[in-house]
């Protein structure tokens, strides 16, 4: 390991200051009790936040995924879609064959394939791991099938969210699923399309990530 002496110096300095600390006597950290919401209220909260953050939310069902995506792509004038072959909803997505050119994410992101991902991929679709009502957040847990760049590089991102996977808040989600036992390579929480207010506090979408986020919320 590098910089052994810097490490030892820093730790020694810090340790000498807290040598006698009594960790059993720390004050209680009381959190705020948020009012409990019904299922419907949570869904409403989830959609409300996403929409006010400029995401497009379409309530639909598993059976209608292909239809909705085809319609939205057409209205955007896009004829290609990148997806992960053995992802959660790959069967439903494959039903799009014929109406759009489906491109599989079957490459490693390097050299020509990388360039292609940046230059010639107008839209992509992924599933979601879960979702959070309190902040209108979609939780992605990228996999070998649906890699990290799939939801990041293409300018339009379709994401399929199962309403059954909606949790009241972030703390609850991590606790119920016991995240502390095993974290994957990457988890990303997404709450809208990419944006910035860096120029004169004026909101602009599509700073570096997707400029359009279409959420297919499976409710039936």
């Amino acid at each position: 390991m590098t910089n052994q002496s810097a490490r030892n110096n820093i730790l020694a300095k810090l340790k000498s200051q807290v040598a006698g600390a009594d960790y059993d006597k720390l004050p209680k950290e009381t959190g705020f009790e948020y009012p409990k919401l019904s299922r419907e209220q949570q869904l409403e909260q989830f959609v409300g936040h996403l929409e006010s953050n400029h995401a497009q939310v379409v309530k639909t069902s598993k059976a209608q995924i292909a239809e909705v995506v085809a319609r939205e792509l057409k209205s955007l004038g896009i004829d290609r879609l990148l997806y992960g072959k053995s992802g959660q909803y790959s069967e439903e997505i494959q039903a799009l064959k014929g109406s759009v050119t489906l491109q599989e994410f079957d490459f490693v992101v390097e050299s020509q394939a990388k360039q292609n991902l940046f230059d010639n991929t107008p839209a992509a679709i992924t599933g979601a791991h879960s979702a959070i009502a309190a902040t209108g957040t979609i939780v992605l847990w990228p996999t070998v099938e649906e890699p990290r760049t799939l939801s990041l590089v293409p300018p339009v991102h379709f994401v399929i969210v199962d309403a059954e996977q909606l949790y009241a808040n972030f703390a609850l989600l991590m606790n119920e699923q016991q995240w502390h036992n095993k974290m994957p390579t990457n988890v990303v929480l997404i709450s809208g399309p990419s944006k910035t207010a860096d120029i004169q506090q004026t909101l602009a979408y599509g700073a570096h990530g997707p400029e359009k986020l279409v959420v297919l919320l499976l409710v039936g």
Partner: protein, 478 residues
Amino acid sequence: MLVIKVSEFIKNVKRDLNDPQLRENFRGAMDYLMDKRQAAFTDVDEWATLKEQCKRIKQRCLLKLPHLLEQLEENLQRNGIEVHWAETTEQANEIIAKLIAKEHGKSVVKGKSMVSEEVALNDHLEQQGVECLETDMGEYIVQLAKEHPSHIIMPAIHQNKSQIGKLFVQHIDGFDYSSDVDTLIKAGRNVLRDKFCQADVGVTGVNFAVAETGTLCLVENEGNGRMCSTVPDLHIAITGIEKVIEKLDDVPPLLSLLTRSATGQAISTYFNMITHPRQPGEKDGPKAVHLVLLDNGRSQAFADEELRQTLQCIRCGACMNHCPVYTRIGGHAYGTVYPGPIGKIATPHMLGLEATNELPSASSLCGACEEVCPVGIPIPKLLLRLRKESVKPRADMPQTVKGQGGGRKPVEALIWQLWALVHKSPWLYRWSTKLLTRLSWLMPKNLGPWTTARTAPKPAAKTLHELIGENEKQGKRK
């Protein structure tokens, strides 16, 4: 770390106070950010509860700091992320330059990171022939203008859109002047997309480092942080040692207060949690991830229980947004990487009080910063403490803050010693106040900073003691 000489602080303040455009830009931005924040905290009870909770979380994590750092290191290493330690900014730069050189890296894309500004990483890498490009829109603008960020959350607020339009005409090939924000952002996006695709290395900061799982968390809206930590083969994260938190459970309340205090958002667009480099079979993500932990004066602040509170900071920027001094003089006048109230309490530990002794004094102690601080840092109290440290005799032990006594002026010290002497002895007090009233004609017109905006005080013809004495005599006579 960029820093101006103290004598320049006053000069800078005068310069920037007299720039109406600059003042308009800051006023507008601060009003916007204050409104946003206020709208995000409508429930007073919730705010008070969360603030107390987050303060206690950070205080617990600080009390356990050395152990959490060891735990973080162990878990990160188990996850395949290498950990490096730097006591100084030079060490940090050297570590990063070496990591890049080992991979023959030529181009770096950087996500927003104030710690990388603190170590002046760009300058260092450029000297080594490595191109280092800022990719946060605000940072990119500031870098094009060859300036430094004027705010820790919104680096380019000192410029307005037409100024930025002109800047783009100069620096982006084929860009026709426009002050339309969407057009400007699109132009920036196009330039930077190519860079993300081609860069060898991505450098980012860290908002929270979770010891329990060995996870690095990044908060952002634009997606450049995700790009920098996903697309290049090598990802180097750099952060201060105080950013470690104990467990995942600590994340939600801190995250909620961070984004709401900073920009009034319930959550940022992206919250990115990184736990491993690319695993076998995965198709993207960096092949190697490194974390550089920087001290640079933090362990000094840590050594004093009162000053330790400085390290609770989660860098939300709310204290600057609400600071009447910051709003008027802007971020550049401070001459330090971290401007505003947080800069005034953090920078003396990094640069020493000799170089920064004017900063703790440049405050009206109105307390707005403490009121909005989501982790309850008593900023005005710490400013007073630093003022004290800066006039303490240099030789005093222990040396609490590097450069202590840096603001001590012999004449001033002598005056206060005399003052103390006079107030200890009644006859000396009466005698000297009487002398003062009789010699009032000797009072100079010019009393340094006091008289820049006020007239010099003129002692009355008689002291209060004398007047009362006379009154009593008259009363008795009646």
